[in-house]
């Protein structure tokens, strides 16, 4: 349906999106299991080449890790927006200004350097 220049979704489509958001929320990763050490969880993510989000505190701890050498940081995203929004893979805290890392083998397809 269109009102003037604005397109309003139908009631059926709005309900479809509501259900879709519930499904998506149910399938979102819960992240690190409580009680598990932070470093081992990030190492597991690195072992399967997953993207890694870290807050400033956890990022400092990961700097010296061996697997950090296999990752590229999205420095452009940090420079423009201060980082990405999401849940830190180390301390599980959601928030802004997370550093984003993509494995070097795929980072060219994720961001420009």
């Amino acid at each position: 349906m269109r009102i003037g220049r604005v397109r309003v979704l139908s009631a059926q489509k709005r309900e479809q999106r509501r259900q879709g958001r519930r499904k998506a929320a149910a399938r979102e990763s819960k992240g690190r299991t409580v009680g598990r050490t932070e470093g081992s969880w990030v190492s597991d993510l690195a072992a399967i080449r997953q993207s890694i989000l870290l807050c400033w505190a956890c990022d400092a701890k990961w700097k010296g890790a061996k697997e950090r050498l296999d990752y590229d940081e999205a420095k452009g995203w940090t420079k423009i927006w201060g980082g990405v929004v999401g849940k830190c893979d180390g301390c599980r805290q959601p928030g802004h200004q997370r550093r984003f890392y993509a494995h070097a083998s795929i980072s060219d397809g994720v961001f420009d350097r």
């Binding site: 999106r17 979102e28 399967i48 993207s51 990405v84 999401g86 420009d112």
Partner: protein, 238 residues
Amino acid sequence: MKFSYSFSGNAPVVKKYQIGETWGSVTGIPAEIPTLSDTDGVLMCETTSCVDVVGVSTDVPVARNTAQQTSNADPATYVSLIVNPGVSYKAYLSGGATSGTALTALSNTVASTNGLLTTLALGTAYDDGYIWGATGANVRILRKVTAVAGTNETPIIAFPYDIAVGDTFYPATFGPGEAAGIQLTTALDEIDATADLQSTNNLRCVDFYQLDASEQDQGHRSYAEIVLLDHLFAGSIT
């Protein structure tokens, strides 16, 4: 496709979601929520259909696993997605259904002194498409084709310089600001610039960065900025 910018100026929002099917081996794949209740996890979109998109992938998940593991590790497999609605993504133009195919430069066979006629034998798929100069006087100048008849094409606005025999042009079936949808390559990470437009697809081009033949020879690629119109996290008004 890669995150380019958000229309609201927001930073990328990244979340990890369980996958519901075997995933592709590249990044930049749009993911959608399944409509069937017996599918558990997000699915890859189709080349001609992107409905209720959750986001665009930023990594390649390991092979999907449903069986219990001997180590008692969690068998669920996840993919990271950029979930912002209202985002422009940078997607390279492919000269075919396979990602990475170079665009084919077509040679003009009849000279035009008014810049309003090219003879590239494009075909009807390029009616209302776009062409830009690869070599010759009109390099990188983009024009919309209003009519295709036989081997002739008519741009709406004239090219600024005369078109000589042997000048080459790159064609694309879509362009910025068009109402019709774009088709993705089979790997879902680039745009098939040769496919006819799809009325069912919810991908729209908002900007176009066309390169000439010398730039393409140096390994650079033309790309388009595209938006995913049917996004799960968009508001009720689009």
